[in-house]
Each structure stands twice: as structure tokens, then as C-alpha cells.
């Protein structure tokens, strides 16, 4: 079983649009949205949810006001500024700041601190016309998105194995931090979708470094390449120097947002030549992983 993840560093370069096209072209793959923080792939795949699972992770401190004597021992040991004392000497926890380390729990002399494991999201197994789809929704302002990504990936692999599907296609998150690392490790190929702008280029270089750090093979897609031909050429040259195959150069097309509005993968929405470019890119990606 092979796993492809679509990433970019910079947001808004076209990861989800490409992922949906690949889902449509692959037909028999397992699909996963590993951008659990601001997931969008479901808006193009229209899943019918079959299973819902609660995601519980991390912990938060809560102070029992009945037991708290206001001694203040917990205040200086909290490194996340999550504890505050009011005028009456009562201590409270700011759940948005609390990272659940439990130092306050351990130093409290009267056991007034309780550590609770909150529900921090949900994940789903769904059916789509393109194949099984695993996706999630992290609660607003929650931590541990990396762990939720790992959960989603685990389920997607299980489904691929039990149903004898040879491929998992994952739509990744922007950035280079914890959820992206969790989506990258152990994959067979990372497709980096970039755009010919200074930020697109800069962010691509950082995500390529990250992929290499984890020894993941990289391919590149230059999206909206005709917005700046000179920059596109520079990106292509840089990829050449780095031995990164440029598997697709897709022109800017106002039909892309139209296809998103209609909720249809772009390759199904349009019959123009850029849909062919994406089909060709998909074939080259398959060649790279087999």
C-alpha cells in the first residue's frame, strides 16, 4: 500500500483542489483529509458519514473552588500563564492557555486541582463516490492536532489494507509544524503544490527541507504558473538542481473557484487543457511511486 500526501507550506496554493482531482482520477484509493484544523476536502467529496468517533486528547486543569485555600503555591510553577488569582484569593484556570502539564495538580497541597481529559474533536469514516474517506474536525482552539492526524492516517491505512486498496491520498495542512510533520512521516511521496510568488517559493523550500529531514520523496506542482512566468522558471530550475521532479504546471483559471462553488473536482468540472495537465500529472505521480 502506498501513501501520497499533498502539502505546500503556504496556504491557498491549491492542495485541496488537486487532492479532489486525484481522488476522482484514482477511483479506488482511500482518501484522507489530514488538515484537521481547517479541513475542506469534504466540500468537494460530499461524504456520507458512516462512523463518528470522539477524539479525546490532552488534559486540562480544573480547580475545585470548595477545596482551594488560595495558598497560591500553584501560581508561580505554571509556565503557561494559565492560572490567575482574583481579589478574593480564588484561583482559576484559563483553558485556552492550559497545556495540561499537571504541575499545579502535583504541587497543590489540598488536592484541589483535577485533571480532565476534554473532548477535543471528532473523526469520521465516510463513503464517497470516489472511495472511503477518513476526515476529522478538531474543536476550535484545541491542541494536539498532530495526534488527530495520526488517528486519521491510522484508520485510512486500516481501511486500505482490509479492502485491498493500494493507495491512500491525503490532503495536508499548510505550515511545517506538528500536524504537517504527523502527516508527512512514513509516506511514499509528498507532492508540494507551489505558486510562482516569493512566498510560494520560500514556503516550498522550507517544506522540501522538512520532507528531506524525514527522508520523504518529493515531487512538485507549480500551480497558477502563468501568473509569473519568470518565477515559475526559477522554481523549475531550483527543482532541477534539487532533483525534484516537476510533475505539473497548471495555468491560472477562474474556473477553479467556480468548480469549488459547484462542489465538483476540477477535472470533472472542466474539459479544458488544464484538466489534461492534471491528468498527466497524476500519471507521473503514479509512476513515481510504483
Amino acid at each position: 500500500m502506498k501513501q501520497i500526501v499533498v502539502i505546500s507550506g503556504k496556504g491557498g496554493t491549491g492542495k485541496t483542489v488537486m487532492s479532489a482531482c486525484f481522488a476522482s482520477l484514482a477511483r479506488s484509493a482511500v482518501l484522507a483529509d489530514v488538515d484537521v484544523d481547517a479541513s475542506n476536502l469534504h466540500l468537494l467529496l460530499h461524504p456520507e458519514i458512516l462512523e463518528r468517533h470522539v477524539f479525546k486528547s490532552g488534559q486540562k486543569a480544573r480547580i475545585d473552588v470548595e477545596k482551594c485555600t488560595g495558598c497560591g503555591l500553584c501560581l508561580p510553577v505554571c509556565r503557561f500563564n494559565a492560572l490567575a488569582e482574583d481579589d478574593m484569593g480564588r484561583v482559576s484556570v484559563d483553558p485556552l492557555s492550559c497545556e495540561g502539564c499537571g504541575v499545579c495538580f502535583h504541587v497543590c497541597p489540598v488536592q484541589a486541582v483535577e485533571m480532565e481529559i476534554p473532548i477535543s474533536g471528532e473523526w469520521y469514516v465516510s463513503r464517497t463516490k470516489y472511495g472511503p474517506f477518513v476526515h476529522a474536525r478538531l474543536g476550535i482552539a484545541e491542541e494536539n492536532s498532530g495526534k488527530l492526524v495520526t488517528e486519521v492516517r491510522k484508520k485510512a491505512r486500516e481501511i486500505a489494507e482490509s479492502e485491498g486498496r493500494g493507495l491512500v491520498i491525503m490532503d495536508g495542512a499548510p505550515g511545517i509544524g506538528c500536524p504537517v510533520i504527523a502527516s508527512l512521516t512514513g509516506t511514499d511521496l509528498a507532492l508540494v503544490v507551489t505558486e510562482p510568488t516569493p512566498s510560494g517559493r520560500h514556503d516550498m523550500e522550507r517544506i522540501v527541507d522538512l520532507a528531506r529531514h524525514f527522508k520523504i520523496r518529493v515531487a512538485c506542482c507549480i500551480n497558477k504558473f502563468d501568473l509569473n512566468l519568470e518565477n515559475s522558471e526559477q522554481i523549475q530550475r531550483w527543482c532541477g538542481e534539487q532533483s525534484i521532479p516537476v510533475t505539473g504546471k497548471i495555468p491560472f483559471d477562474a474556473a477553479v473557484p467556480e468548480s469549488v462553488v459547484r462542489g465538483i473536482p476540477y477535472v470533472e468540472y472542466t474539459s479544458n487543457s488544464s484538466a489534461d495537465d492534471i491528468r498527466r500529472m497524476w500519471s507521473s505521480l503514479l509512476e513515481l511511486i510504483t
Partner: protein
């Protein structure tokens, strides 16, 4: 005044709005610009600051003194992040999991743990004309950006108007960036993706009790801004600015040009945006 610019979805134009708002306020308002997207900082491409100072940022991780350690296992027991494991005759430290809370050091009965710094990135500061500029750069392979964002925000200069360029998403790095903001500008685009993530970002601002307003970027794209406006009306969030889609703006961006450089007439719009935020807060 501290104004942060967020979006949920990436690529909607956070950096564009933050940068152009900052530039429009020149030369009358003293501004400090903080690029808190430390995973992928981009604002420097447009503000082109002269960097005057660069500082490494470290987070504390435990180091075990083997001459004092009795391998009792207390440190592994109290670590909420599984960053410590005690096996026969050794304590293993998994620094990438450590949040630097200090529980292990504080609770070690033998006082066998001290903390050493692990580098997570750098903070660079400088100026672009009269604009004070600070950004952070997370080291490749580091998973946790919040400590770097916290360190970056320690450079905040309250005597100036502070404009914060936040990372995409709604999880911990965004919360860390938005914290203590007096106002949050949410940048969206009128597509189902933009709307979906605007709802998440508006939810985060609401949870943090930060008043917010919306900028609709590329407003003529997709199916128009009708649904975004409906959402904002329902939630009582003011729409403070709309920018139509213009391929020329996208091309200017690709050359590292700001909207104000390419289309100086937008200056009035950004100044109005600032005045409207001020009015909302007064």
C-alpha cells in the same frame, strides 16, 4: 491598539491585508508589525525590512544528572507528554515531545534534573522606514511553534499600533498569536472553502472574546460575496472592506509588490478600514 489578522483558510490574503494596512498608516501612525506565522513567515517579502537584530530562541528540556539519579521513575510518571522514559539504568528524553513545563525538574525527589535550552528557531527584528518589524522563523523539524510565538510577542511595543499577521488554521499557534489582541480582522474569500474556514476562525475569536470584523478578498470570485455577508449579518460581524478579484493584484503579489505600490488608490480604503476598527472599539 493591537490588531491581529487571521483567516482559518490559508492563502486568503492575511499577509496582504496586514502589510497594506500597515503601509497605509504611514507616515502618520507609528506601527509595529509582528509576523507570527513563524512556520512560514512571508511579510518580509513585501515590507522589505532591514534586519538589525537576530536572536535564537530556546525552550527548556530536562537533562539528567546520572550521578544523582536513582531511576525511581517519578519524572516519567509526572510527564504529561510522554517525553521521558526510564528503562534499566537510563532515563531517555524525547525532546520533540517536551513542552518545557518543568514538572520533571520540580518533582524529582533526588534533584537530579536540570534544564538546558533546546533551540527552536530565531527571532529577527528591524525596521522598514518608520515601521518596526519583528518576525520569527521556526527551525525545520521543530513541531511546536507556540513557544516561539510567545517569545516573539514579548517584543511587542504597546506605544505603537501593533499589527499581527497570524498563521492559518484555528489551533494553538493561532490562539497564541491572537491572545491579547484588541481586534481581529478575518480575511476570507467567497468560496465554500473560504466561508467554511471563516466560520471556524470567527468561532475562535468569539471563544477568545476578541471583537472581529471581516475583509472579503477577491470578492467577485466564486459565487460572489452574498453568503459571506449573510453569515456576517447572522453573527453580527461587520464587513469592513471588500477587495474585488483582479488578476493584476495577483500578478503584483507574485512580483513581491504590495497593493499600495501597484494601486495607490487603495490607500484610502485601508485608512477607512483602520478608522472603522477604531470606531468599533471606542
Amino acid at each position: 491598539m493591537i490588531i491581529s489578522v487571521a483567516s482559518g483558510k490559508g492563502g486568503t490574503g492575511k499577509t496582504t491585508i496586514a502589510v497594506n494596512l500597515t503601509l497605509a498608516l504611514q507616515p502618520d501612525h507609528p506601527v509595529q508589525f509582528l509576523d507570527c506565522d513563524v512556520e512560514e513567515p512571508n511579510a518580509h517579502f513585501f515590507l522589505k525590512p532591514r534586519i538589525e537584530e537576530s536572536r535564537e530562541v530556546f525552550t527548556p528540556i530536562p537533562e539528567i544528572d546520572d550521578s544523582l539519579c536513582t531511576y525511581c521513575g517519578r519524572c516519567a510518571e509526572v510527564c504529561a507528554y510522554n517525553a521521558l522514559a526510564v528503562v534499566k539504568g537510563a532515563v531517555l528524553v524525547f525532546s520533540e515531545l517536551c513542552h518545557g513545563c518543568g514538572a520533571c525538574r520540580l518533582l524529582c525527589p533526588e534533584k537530579a534534573i536540570r534544564e538546558v535550552g533546546k533551540r527552536i528557531g530565531v527571532i529577527e527584528s528591524g525596521r522598514a522606514g518608520d515601521i518596526r518589524f519583528v518576525h520569527g522563523r521556526l527551525d525545520i523539524g521543530q513541531a511546536m511553534s507556540p513557544p516561539l510565538i510567545r517569545a516573539l510577542k514579548k517584543n511587542m511595543d504597546p506605544s505603537r499600533t501593533v499589527v499581527i499577521d497570524a498563521p492559518p488554521g484555528t489551533s494553538c499557534p493561532v490562539i497564541e498569536s491572537l491572545r491579547h489582541s484588541e481586534f481581529c480582522l478575518l480575511v476570507t474569500e467567497p468560496t465554500p472553502f473560504g466561508r467554511h474556514d471563516l466560520e471556524l476562525a470567527a468561532g475562535a475569536a468569539k471563544e477568545m472574546k476578541i471583537p472581529c470584523g471581516v475583509v472579503i478578498n477577491r470578492a467577485s470570485l466564486g459565487d460572489g460575496d452574498g453568503e459571506v455577508r449573510d453569515f456576517c449579518a447572522r453573527e453580527g460581524i461587520p464587513v469592513l472592506m471588500t477587495i474585488p478579484f483582479d488578476r493584476k493584484i495577483a500578478e503584483a503579489y507574485s512580483r513581491g509588490q504590495t497593493i499600495l505600490e501597484a494601486f495607490p488608490a487603495y490607500r484610502t480604503g485601508f485608512l477607512e478600514l483602520f478608522e472603522n476598527i477604531r470606531k468599533l472599539l471606542s
